[in-house]
Amino acid sequence: MKLSKTLLATSALTVAAAGAYAAGHGMADNMTLVSWGGAYQASQQNAYVAPYIEMNPDVSASWDESSAEAVAKLRAMNEAGNVTWDLVDVVAADAIRLCDEGLAMEIDHDEMLAAAPDGTSASDDFGDLIVSDCYIPQIVYSTTFGYRTDMVPAGVEPPSDICSVFDLETYPGKRALEKRPINNMEWALLCDGVAKADVYDVLETDEGQDQALAKLDTIKDEVIWWNAGADTPQLLADGEIFMGSTYNGRLFSAIVEQGQPIGMMWDAQVFDLDGWIIPAGLPEDRLARVMDFVRFATDTQRLADQAKYISYGPARASSAPLVSTHAELGIEMAPHMPTDPNNAANTFLYNYEFWADYRDDIDAKFQAWLAQ
């Protein structure tokens, strides 16, 4: 173990030396950005990375598609004393954990980020979406259901209520749900007669957890559990399932870009956030570059531009009026946003604090229930 520490120290020294060299030039010339890959990363590339590099031709940016394992990898890098990432895209729950673990840098939003065009400070512009001191939100996405329009039984209205997920009589067929308790437990309770405001109070108790699992039990045989956001659109396209939950942007691309016979069911969609964190302990030159980039990439216009490429709502209030049309298809993007008033008639907010506490406990029960 001593040996490995020596090795780590040596590599850390090498990195430090390289950093010290670059520091003479003020800002580092390349950035490693971490994101999710796919259409989402492409929207980031188009909306702000490419314009930034155009403005700063000396700078290069490379992508690492590791956001799904970002927390574990960042922790390992931190223990090894060699953090190679400069900016990491994570969901809000992960940002909270990274902040808790001291792996993400605390942000002074007003000082580090651009104000809105009308002068509103960044922290007011982002508002409640700043769920952690380390977090710079980019977009609001939602987890919601899509269904096969051609598999709706004859003479029945297409599903428009979250509880149709649990209604096997009216809407027979398989469902796809994410293989984790989050969201599924809330939906189960909502459809088992618990009022929206009481869901987390009920879920805190053992009885409430049992109640949610009992409700899920009624459809357990008809559920295919997914791990990756791409699973549900694929299962829908194959006709394997009648309805399934996934991220709204995935459904948007299956419906609008690929023309699949899929309908959106926005009822009880669960809002969540995606945004940046800056790893703690970056050398000064790299930090300076990242700060410069982040100020540009999260300003009002850039966040609005991102919506040209993907149907996720910008996190800044001031960006919403600037959302325009799809970059290639030319259709209006606003009606496809989860935050659009027509879609957001009944929404559900992900309770970060609750899940930070109950995640381990409920997950153990959920997995035991799944394995039975």
């Binding site: 040996l3 490995s4 808790d100 394997e240 506490d357």
Partner: protein, 565 residues
Amino acid sequence: MTDAATEPDKITGPTPDNALRAADKADDGPVLAADGRPLKQSLNRALRAQKLRALALIAPLLIFVLVSFIAPIGDMLFRSVENQIVRDTMPRTVAALADYDAAAGGVPRDEVFEAAYYDVFYAAERKLHTRLGSRLNYEQTGASSLFRKSGRGIDDIGEVYQDQFEDLNGDWDEARPWAELMGDPTWIAAQEGWDGSGRMPAFELRSDIADVLPRTAASYQIFARFMQTEEGDSPLEEEPWTVVHTALYQDLSEGDVSGYTGPRSDMLQAAAALVASPDFETIAFRDGLEEIDEDWVDPEIWQTIKTYSPSYTSGYFLNSVDMQKTPEGPALRDEDERIYGLLFQRTMFMSMVITISCILLGYPIAYLLSNLPSRTANLLMILVLLPFWTSLLVRTSAWKVMLQQQGVINDTLVWLGLVADDARLTMINNQFGTIVAMTHILLPFMILPMYSVMSTIPQTYVRAAKSLGATNWTTFWRVYFPQSIPGIGAGSILVFILSIGYYITPEIVGGTSGIFISNRIAYHISSSLNWGLAAALGTILLVVVLLLYWAYDRIVGIDNVKLGG
């Protein structure tokens, strides 16, 4: 696999070993070498040089394996018992809880709350409190937000005192007066003279201040050293944390400072008078913590801290066998939380099924390969190896396309009329899917060792048996098969051990009933970040594999395993 003819003890004639033995036996004085030294000594020297040379030759590999393989694995496995975080983050609380009886429960003494206040405060400044919260949340639901909240609210307690001292004299909220009260004059001079380059002169307490104000001095010292080392700020310019004011109140209320005549003594005397006055507002640590979060007065959190205060814990191992550490000792978890025992059993059972189906499918192919003319055999061999060269994910996803309800197999069956359209077979997202996909993926690992053993079995034996009148079956069963067993053994060990640790394929095609213990290990490594539990599960898996290997050696004999000739 040792050859009798090369075993050193069985060789006769002049070898170094034999010479040594001869030298031992000779009792008529030491045999001397040509240079006059005893033969034994000079032989030993020659042998040692040889051994060192051999060691030097393998050294690069040995060091490589140690550094890149053994050390990281050892480090990871060590995490399954490591638990210093509680003791390191809350040293005072752990000490104060020494005589707390966790089994009896109840809320601990006030001293424990006092210790917890100081610990949480310092931990919050160093941003370690939330880490401890996440650690304890694995054991007790709610610990995570308890510590996060406490980190945010812990200043409230000290502010009660800070505000009153500040109202009395604004200097109590200034950096300089505090530094003069606490700091050694030589240090103050050195700090003032510091030009900003090199190391900051380390903070020193004034020699007698710790006798007058013990708590305050200790607290201020922690603050000053933290400012210097972590923040790189001069304590001469930073007003102290509110915890220092709390400590000052405690010192003043308990001790007598009337004899103090050092710097800033007026300020201190006035503060002492203020504390002594009945109007001085105080807050008990217990009430202060309760105000931040009432979980602090719930015995559960103290029981958890107490149970997990030792530096090493069996907690992770207990968790990985569906038990938990309670104040009364290890106990089984609630039935609805037990999962690992089931998963271990399932992993063993399914790996066994996969191994057996690999043997059944692989044996005829290996037989064919070793008995066909080499041109045809080579072609077949490429077919066996082809899946090896294809990405694992591609192969697994291909099975998804084949097996799903709207997939190739079901479509064909429906088209043939064997299965009704509304009763399509479920062949994926269950154990069946996992077994099929993994058998396919691991098949080459079975065929290759079998093939290499079978190709060395001389055809003459088979012909001899037949010419002596054995039927085809007897020839195969009595003559050919026993000679191919080493290949089956090698293949089975490979396939079994590989399948025990597989997790990508079960994750994709396994649904809920086809997942392995390794899926939970992966989950705890990458999602829940409970690396201790993952390490414990991994250690158990490793031990199980070693035990099976040992049992295999005892029953079949590891000498019977052959990967080739």
